[in-house]
């Protein structure tokens, strides 16, 4: 079990991260999610030993790792741009961490099979496609059976279709082989797919931790909500289960009386109902439509609808109170 | 592992090779019961003797000779002066009259009179510190082919060279960087003098006006500009009296006549000396070497190797010398002390005249 306690890290001389606490149980996949500059890579590199913390501790099964050089920690790190050794073949790359071990060849074959690159041992690294390189990098970091495998935006440079295919496969692989992993990304969908636990970082500070379901259902604040992709964050006055926004009212039975900042999930907007607005934009998402609704007073709502509404049309809709989530932030 | 062991093998081979090379530099001595005495001869790069000559010396005296070579006489002298307190050799050979005075004033020699000195003409001797070994004359060489039809005729005197008939024909060397160049300059100074109606400076001004070419060294003058030895256009060059015999000797086709000739007017005699370096531990052995250098065997070996004339008046010259060499009767000479005193000033004056 990896434990990070009260970690403080500087970035380019300035104090940056503080009071970072993280526990990664054996076999769990923890995602660290945050925008660029939030400190996710710095955190990863610090855990790996490539950077030194200013304060705090990193320990594995109670054994303190501060001061232990990276090559002695038994952790694996898969780099953002793969960092494959250009002067070695695929096989040599994968074997690098286990050179000299009696079963090395067998292990290389094994991990290459895991990532679906069986038979690639003698290929030259320079001629591989992006997806192939990524898988070689993964295989390479898995081969030495690291205590913790850290992945730094591993699918960032792949195209979307590939990404959406690979990430579930990756999760399946990690779970099947019970690999303890920390997965760093800026993409919330990846984080949701891959992790058992999520940590959301902003500017070096932890905003929220929890399971993907918890985070999704109850974002800790408006920023997190916005980062997770929630577009409809509005301030409302709630009185006896009815929320009043600047453009109308809707049911909000879960909220107490008073002024709140709430999320209205895009999926909570349904066709037909007491509210009305104009569809100003419509994007087909291959299964549903993403529609921007402009309300009477000019504010907009984003909705995910099954049916098409013509752009420019006024239409009626309602808001499902189940899809209204209160945020702890103070409203304006 | 593979890398390391191969690297080690290569490294080992190189070390072994180096060691062998270093060992082979030492005297390749025959197995002797007693360690033979070894002395070192410091000389310049033109030193050459036939195989076996130095071995003969060792066989007769039991002394081995290691030869150290410097680039030229000037470099050699500098090296001797710089290491005066802890000399790197026992005998120095190759110091000539242009540098002699300086060597003597620096006190690098130990006086020695060779037992064979009597065989050397007085004119060559230079006091008790050094022993004359050989001499050569720096003279103007001419390309016989260029003067075949006798118009113009072969110049007879230095002064002829200022005649417009010989315009653009002469190539000389820079006295600041060339030994024959300096010798020729000294010849003109000795001949025309520094005072009077027609000084050496006047002579050089006339030469410049007559199109004389100046090269940095003998190699460029002879092998790039001299028409007899290159595709160059100059038929008169400052070279040595021994150059014509050398041309015959090295010619692939046997020749009846030397392709070049020598103008005997204005030759400058360069005498080369040997001396024992002060501070040596092998004074006696060094003396023996000098005696050997004055022996008929050594003296008669020199001409065909170094293309110089033996100092010994009774040494027999090889046929190519007797047939094809011209020895000037009255070469120019100059007191070594005078040379040392004025050399820099003369060269600088010359440079000014020639560069303008």
């Amino acid at each position: 079990m990896l434990e990070v306690r009260d970690l403080a890290v500087s970035f380019e001389g300035e104090p940056f991260m503080h009071h970072v606490n993280l526990t990664v149980p054996d076999g769990a996949v923890v995602a660290i999610l945050g925008p660029s500059g939030s400190g996710k890579s710095t955190l990863l590199r610090t855990i790996a030993g490539l950077e030194s913390p200013d304060a705090g501790s990193i320990s594995w099964n109670g054994e303190l790792l501060n001061g232990v050089p990276p090559h002695a920690r038994g952790f694996g790190l898969m780099f953002q741009d793969y960092a494959l050794f250009p002067h070695m073949t695929v096989g040599a790359n994968v074997a690098f961490g286990i050179e000299g071990h009696p079963q090395a060849d067998r292990r290389v074959t094994e991990v290459l099979e895991w990532v679906g690159l069986a038979g690639y041992e003698h290929r030259s690294v320079g001629h591989l496609s992006g997806g192939e390189q990524q898988r070689v990098a993964l295989a390479r970091s898995l081969a030495p059976e690291p205590r913790v495998l850290m992945l730094d935006e591993p699918v960032g440079s792949l195209d979307r279709a590939l990404r959406e295919r690979i990430v579930p496969q990756l999760r399946e692989l990690l779970v099947r082989h019970q690999i303890t992993a920390i997965y760093v990304t800026h993409d919330q969908e990846e984080a949701f797919t891959i992790s058992d636990q999520m940590v959301i970082l902003r500017d070096g500070t932890m905003m929220q931790t929890g399971t993907p379901e918890q985070v999704w259902s109850f974002p800790a604040n408006a920023w997190v909500a916005g980062f997770l992709g929630f577009s409809n964050i509005i301030d409302v006055d709630v009185s006896r289960g009815v929320a009043t926004a600047s453009w109308g009212t809707f049911d909000a039975s879960a909220l107490a009386d008073g002024r709140h900042r709430v999320i209205v999930r895009e999926t909570a907007i349904e066709l037909g109902g007491p509210l009305s607005g104009v569809a100003t934009e419509r994007r087909f998402r291959g299964g549903h439509y993403q529609v921007t609704i402009e309300m009477r007073d000019g504010s907009t709502l984003e909705a995910e609808l099954d049916e098409a509404t013509r752009v420019g049309d006024t239409f009626a809709f309602s808001i499902d109170p189940e899809g209204v989530v209160g945020l702890p932030d103070s409203p304006a | 592992m593979q890398i390391a062991s191969r690297a080690r093998r290569i490294g080992g081979f190189v070390v072994l090779a180096l060691t062998l090379a270093a060992c082979s530099q030492g005297a390749s001595e025959p197995a002797n019961t007693q360690t033979p005495e070894q002395i070192t001869l410091l000389t310049h790069d033109a030193f050459a003797v036939s195989d076996g000559i130095l071995q003969d010396f060792t066989n007769t005296t039991g002394i081995e000779v290691q030869v150290l070579r410097s680039d030229d006489a000037g470099t050699m002298l500098n090296q001797a002066i710089l290491t005066k307190d802890n000399p790197i050799a026992d005998v120095m050979y190759g110091i000539d009259n242009t540098f002699l005075s300086r060597a003597l004033s620096e006190g690098i020699f130990e006086p020695y009179t060779s037992s064979s000195l009597s065989a050397v003409p007085e004119s060559l001797r230079a006091g008790g510190q050094v022993t004359p070994i050989d001499y050569g004359d720096v003279c103007i060489n001419y390309d016989k082919a260029a003067f075949e039809n006798d118009t113009p005729p072969v110049p007879q005197t230095l002064h002829n060279l200022t005649d417009p008939a010989y315009r653009d024909m002469l190539v000389v060397e820079d006295p600041a960087t060339s030994s024959p160049g300096l010798a020729f300059l000294l010849a003109t100074i000795a001949k025309f003098g520094e005072t009077g109606d027609y000084t050496w400076q006047d002579y050089w001004r006339d030469l410049v006006a007559n199109g004389v070419k100046v090269d940095a060294g003998w190699t460029e003058a002879y092998y790039s500009d001299f028409s007899a030895a290159s595709d160059g256009t100059r038929s008169l060059v400052v070279s040595y009296a021994s150059s014509p015999p050398a041309e015959v000797y090295y010619s692939e086709v046997p020749l009846d006549e030397a392709p070049t000739g020598v103008i005997t007017d204005g030759c400058f005699r360069q005498v080369e000396y040997a001396g024992i370096l002060a501070g040596t531990d092998h004074t006696e052995a060094a003396g023996k070497l000098i005696d050997f250098m004055l022996s008929p065997e050594f003296q008669e070996d020199m001409p065909l190797n170094m293309f110089v004339f033996p100092a010994r008046s009774d040494a027999t010259l090889p046929s190519v010398f007797t047939e094809f060499a011209t020895v000037p009767d009255h070469p120019e000479t100059m007191d070594p002390a005078l040379i040392d005193q004025h050399r820099e000033e003369w060269i600088q004056q010359w440079t000014e005249i020639v560069r303008s």
Partner: protein, 537 residues
């Protein structure tokens, strides 16, 4: 930056430092002090003497500007060839690459005859007496330095960067100007600094091809020492030369101070491609033909003349080399063996010390490492006379090395180390840090990271450096001629000997041709040298 073990640090710095201190700084200091100190007092009169004389002042000025001009000209002329060797794959590439190093190795005195024949009074165009003859000769001799240094580095640069620029609408020329040239800067500066130093201390070219009209500091040092025996003035000039060189090197090092970009390096085999378009082929063939003509004509002339005998063409001169009438003290085969052995020793020494020193220079940016960098380059900018005589003055005690044959490889190594350092440093600096981090994460200790990641990637630079060192040693004439050597000559010395007497000219050229072939063969072998992953990058 990854720090190697502490002990390793001390070793990396200590060995080169000790070597340079004992075999360079100490002899240099000794000879200068000896020349400038009279009766226990340091005289500054020689300095005022130097500055009061018009000829000497003129020599100082000429030295600086001709070296600058030579450097710029060489870079410009050799750049296309560097490109061609870096980017294209073509038949005979290895052979040609070996061949272009030949001019670098030949003693000036030999090439001088060919140059005078081509560009003198009886040549194609008469440039004798002009500075152009000197500049062209400098380009001729230093062509290989630029091609191998810049070309080597260029051969590892990812061409996709240029392609990206082209895709963004830049013309070929603009992509070159805005993308390639800035990336090449470290290699250009490295090559430029070497060429500058070489031409700054150029001796043979100035003397032989310049004639009495031109003079540089080096020529004046020679004149003052050898002809006038005026050691104080010579020493003053040597100090001025050193000061000039040091200040230029310091400027160069400050210019490099910005942390070098970690560049995308790719294996050279991948970067080089056969020419595809018509313009590719034109560029390739045009450059090869022009470079070949430029470098090859004087060499061809020498070879042709070596085959000219009284009876027409033949190998008489070559046969004469083997006979006793060759006027050499030892047969030429021994000269060849001697040269090869000394070159091998010098190369080993130079590469070992040079790579150690390069590691310090490349991975540290402190004041110390910059000063260290300058110190490493100094021997290249120091007068050969001073070094040679310095050995004589300083190395007598405790062990008398003054006439030891080991001095030759040491002197050669001193001059070769700058090459090794300058070719290795840009490549060392370009190795990506994340590759090292990746290796560390896979369990490699710092030593293993060095061996498996850095070393193979810089090995090609190391081989280029080794090639240079070998060539430098084969052709070294300056410092060698001022040492008092035990009998066996090196090839350049032997050639010079044969050129200094009448009748042996064809033999000299024959031996020079042998040297040419030997150089090409050695360069070829080194280029092809592979063991393990070394050399393959």
């Amino acid at each position: 930056m990854r720090r190697p073990l502490r002990i390793g640090d001390v070793f990396l710095v200590g060995v080169p430092l000790l070597f340079l201190a004992y075999f360079f700084a100490y002899p240099l200091g000794a000879i200068l002090l000896k020349s400038l100190v009279t009766n226990g007092r340091l005289g500054l009169a020689p300095f005022s003497d130097v500055f009061s004389r018009g000829t000497l002042r003129g020599a100082i000025w000429f030295t600086v500007w001709q070296a600058t001009a030579s450097m710029l000209l060489t870079l410009a002329v050799a750049l296309p060839a560097a490109f061609v060797f870096a980017r294209y794959r073509f038949r005979g590439k290895s052979l040609l690459k070996a061949a272009i190093t030949v001019p670098f190795v030949l003693p000036t005195v030999v090439v001088g005859t060919a140059f005078l024949a081509l560009l003198g009074p009886t040549g194609i165009v008469d440039l004798s007496g002009t500075v152009w003859l000197i500049l062209i000769a400098h380009v001729f001799f230093n062509f290989a330095v630029v091609v191998r240094t810049v070309g080597g580095f260029w051969g590892n640069l990812d061409p996709r960067l240029e392609e990206a620029a082209r895709m963004l609408g830049a013309s070929r020329w603009r992509a070159f100007q805005k993308v390639t040239l800035p990336l090449l800067r470290p290699a250009l500066a490295a090559a430029g600094s070497i060429v500058f130093l070489f031409t700054f201390t150029s001796f043979g070219v100035i003397l032989i091809l310049g004639g009495p009209r031109f003079s540089t500091i080096e020529v004046e040092i020679y004149r003052q020492t050898i002809t006038y025996l005026q050691l104080p003035i010579a020493a003053a000039l040597a100090v001025i030369q050193l000061v000039g060189v040091t200040s230029i090197l310091l400027t160069y090092s400050a210019f490099q101070r910005r942390r070098a970009l970690e560049l995308p390096l790719r294996p050279s085999e991948e970067v080089a491609r056969p020419p595809r378009s018509a313009s590719d082929r034109l560029l390739l063939s045009g450059t090869l033909v022009l470079s070949g003509l430029f470098l090859g004509t004087p060499l061809a002339l020498l070879i042709v003349r070596s085959l000219r005998t009284n009876r027409g063409f033949g190998l008489a001169a070559y046969r004469a080399l083997g006979t006793r009438t060759s006027a050499l003290f030892v047969p030429p085969v021994e000269a060849i063996t001697n040269s090869l052995l000394i070159a091998a020793a010098a190369t080993l020494l130079a590469v070992t010390i040079g790579m150690m020193a390069a590691a310090i220079v490349a991975y540290r940016t402190s004041l110390f490492s910059r000063a260290f960098d300058v110190l490493l380059m100094l021997p290249l900018g120091t007068s050969a006379v001073t070094i040679g005589f310095g050995f004589l003055v300083a190395l007598g005690k405790p062990i008398d090395l003054r006439t030891s044959p080991v001095l030759l490889p040491i002197a050669h190594a001193l001059v070769a180390i700058p090459f090794v350092v300058r070719t290795a440093v840009p490549v060392m600096r370009s190795v990506r840090q994340d590759l090292r981090d990746a290796a560390a994460m896979l369990g490699a200790t710092p030593a293993r990271v060095w061996r498996r990641i850095d070393l193979p990637m810089i090995s090609r630079a190391g081989l280029i450096g080794a090639g240079f060192a070998f060539a430098v040693s084969l052709g070294e004439f300056g410092a060698t001629s001022f040492l008092a050597r035990p009998s066996t000559p090196t090839l350049p010395i032997a050639i010079f000997r044969l050129l200094s007497r009448p009748g042996t000219f064809p033999q000299a050229l024959a031996l020079a041709t042998v040297l040419m072939v030997l150089t090409a063969a050695s360069m070829f072998a080194i280029e092809r040298f592979r063991f393990g992953e070394v050399g393959e990058f």
